[in-house]
Amino acid sequence: MTQATADACEQITSKTEEFVRSDRMPHIWCPGCGIGTTVNCFTRAIEQCGVDLNKLAIVSGIGCTGRVAGYLNLDSFHTTHGRAIPFATGLKLSNPDLKVVLYSGDGDLIAIGGNHFIHAARRNLDITVICVNNFNYAMTGGQVAPTTPIDAIGTTAPYGVCERSFNLPFLADSCGAVYVARWTAFHVRQLTKAMVEAVNKRGFSFVEVITPCPTLYERRNRLGDGLARMEWYKENSVIKHDADTRECDIDFQGKIVCGKFVDKEDVPSLLQKRNQKTEELRVKGIACD
């Protein structure tokens, strides 16, 4: 490379770099893991949202995706396993000026944290939930999760899963989420757009991202490395906006329905409803100013 090229290179700073804690790099994620890719999309999304980064808080639970909070240069909270949503509930309700984004994995959000997930959606709590779904518990070594497709293999289902897996868009939709989208790590531009829309949405917004876990899920199920999986997403994703979420199940090596499925308007969020109630009480002289 010539000096001139090198100089030109120096002028380029990654868009991601402004948003991550460079002093914590390199991160812990494996080669070919898709979590980092989703973080790129997220950093571009928050840039596009124009949100004040000092008023943006990120909350994670435990697991590989749980580490996202620690790598983003925002107010970040790495909480306990499954409990990122209730932590975010307190954070948002006590400080409504904050944008609160929850970034966690499928096991954390949907298994141990499943109860909190459905209730936050029911309440229409003003948060964005980004669920990185790699179909297994990766941090602990590839155990099956409620998202592992039936017949897939995990260390705790060495002969294949017998349980039906969760269809996350349907779960979120049926519990009242006002925004629901699903993309894979291959769909970086669409994913970024979905994240922008989700963060700007008032109420409970949900984005599921299917990502490769080449070290565990892909390896055990002989699905190739991260790149092979990304190519597979490219070939096997079906983009179907406004699809009926009941038809978004993911079968083992079946097609992945992607798109924006739910985008509701005019459903009052928890904070809107609460503020309205406070106003009513103020008129009656019950609430203070």
Binding site: E10, I12, H27, G32, L227
Partner: protein, 97 residues
């Protein structure tokens, strides 16, 4: 290597953007996403290794880079990014190569 030429209406103001990439080879874990999904085929995996023993990407075909930053969006290790650079700089950089 093909010589890049400036457009005829070239003046000091940047006109037609061309791309350049920046690679932090030591952060790379060699997944190959950037090479596979570069829409113009500007990148290739290097023959070389970084300190952790991974091959990392290099801009093998600089004239093809459009600076779209799709590599930057795909890279899970925040090790590469692309940007559009003013035509004059890109041209001079490529010319001298």
């Amino acid at each position: 290597m093909e010589k890049a030429t400036a457009p005829s209406n070239h003046n000091n103001k940047p006109k037609k953007p061309r791309g350049q990439v920046s690679i932090s080879s030591e952060r790379c874990k060699g997944c190959g996403f950037c090479v596979a999904f570069c829409p113009t085929g500007a990148l290739e995996m290097s023959e070389g290794y970084n300190a952790k023993g991974y091959h990392y990407p290099e801009l093998a075909n600089p004239e093809k880079c459009s600076g779209c930053d799709l590599c930057g969006m795909y890279c899970p290790d925040f090790a590469i990014c692309g940007a559009r650079v003013p035509w004059s700089e890109a041209a001079s950089a490529v010319t001298k190569e």
